[in-house]
């Protein structure tokens, strides 16, 4: 599994397994166990997916050493600032049954983002999380966060697929030393992506 290096020296696998909308606990747990067995090492969840416990059980069952897995979770808007972030972080660690996190992301650019980022910077400096970042931040929100704080987000996880390629945003992120991470690579099946003639013909070419 290929990795790339983030702006703080931490390595992250280039492909991961996400469990958005995998609500049923048994199904979620099974899917993560299967993903790890298939070779995935980066698992992406979020407090708001309400399935961190299932992910935690799967990680325990996987038989893979903790330091060979890259676990990402995200802080929901409800955390509402600095103190709420520290509580939410502890909550996530407990549900995931881990004692450190690889990547913690502010899930949406809404609410007390600045208080939350300050808490995440402190968690990072204490070594409780290996990298901190954001998700769904448009360039203006990101540059605002960067210029008014100490730590530059390692990652911005944003919607990226053939119908929303984010080409300009990718350039912006590179220029600002933030790594793009992509959610919804298949557009969650929307827009007839799996019947798209162009994509099908390219797929056949390389099959």
């Amino acid at each position: 599994m290929q990795s790339i290096v983030l702006n703080n020296g931490v390595e992250i696998p280039i492909l991961g397994f996400g469990v958005f909308q995998v609500k049923d606990p048994a199904e979620c747990e099974r899917s993560v166990v299967d993903a790890i067995a298939a070779g995935y090492r980066l698992i992406d969840t979020a407090a708001s997916y309400e399935n961190e416990e299932a992910v935690g059980r799967a990680i325990k069952r996987s038989g893979i050493a903790r330091n060979e897995l890259f676990i990402t979770t995200k802080l929901w808007i409800q955390a509402n600032g600095y103190e709420g972030t520290l509580k939410a972080f502890q909550n996530s660690l407990k549900k995931l049954q881990i004692d450190y996190l690889d990547l913690y992301l502010i899930h949406q650019p809404f609410g007390d983002v600045y208080g939350e980022w300050r808490a995440m910077q402190d968690l990072y400096k204490e070594g409780k999380v290996r990298a901190i970042g954001v998700s769904n931040f448009q360039p203006d929100r990101l540059i605002d966060l960067i210029i008014h704080n100490e730590i530059v987000p390692a990652i911005n996880q944003i919607e990226t697929h053939p119908f929303h390629q984010q080409n300009q945003t990718q350039k912006f992120l590179e220029e600002n030393n933030v790594q793009i991470e992509s959610w919804g690579p298949f557009a969650e099946g929307k827009n007839g992506i799996f019947q798209n003639q162009l994509l099908l013909s390219i797929a056949h070419k390389y099959n």
């Binding site: 899917s31 309400e50 955390a79 697929h161 119908f163 929303h164 080409n167 919804g184 390389y206």
Partner: protein, 49 residues
């Protein structure tokens, strides 16, 4: 799941990339993060977090 994981044995050519570029709509297929209704709805939901 294994098919989705087995993606490192090919590389798209330049003409493929040029063709794929034409699919870009430059807009989210889900929602606009600048839409006040969505911002309000997302922010006010009470989740079990």
């Amino acid at each position: 799941m294994e098919e989705n994981f087995d993606i490192f044995d090919f590389k798209l050519g330049e003409e493929d990339m040029d063709e794929i570029k034409k699919l870009d709509t430059n807009a989210s297929l889900f929602f606009d993060h600048r839409d006040p209704t969505m911002v309000k709805w997302l922010g006010e939901r009470k989740l079990n977090v």
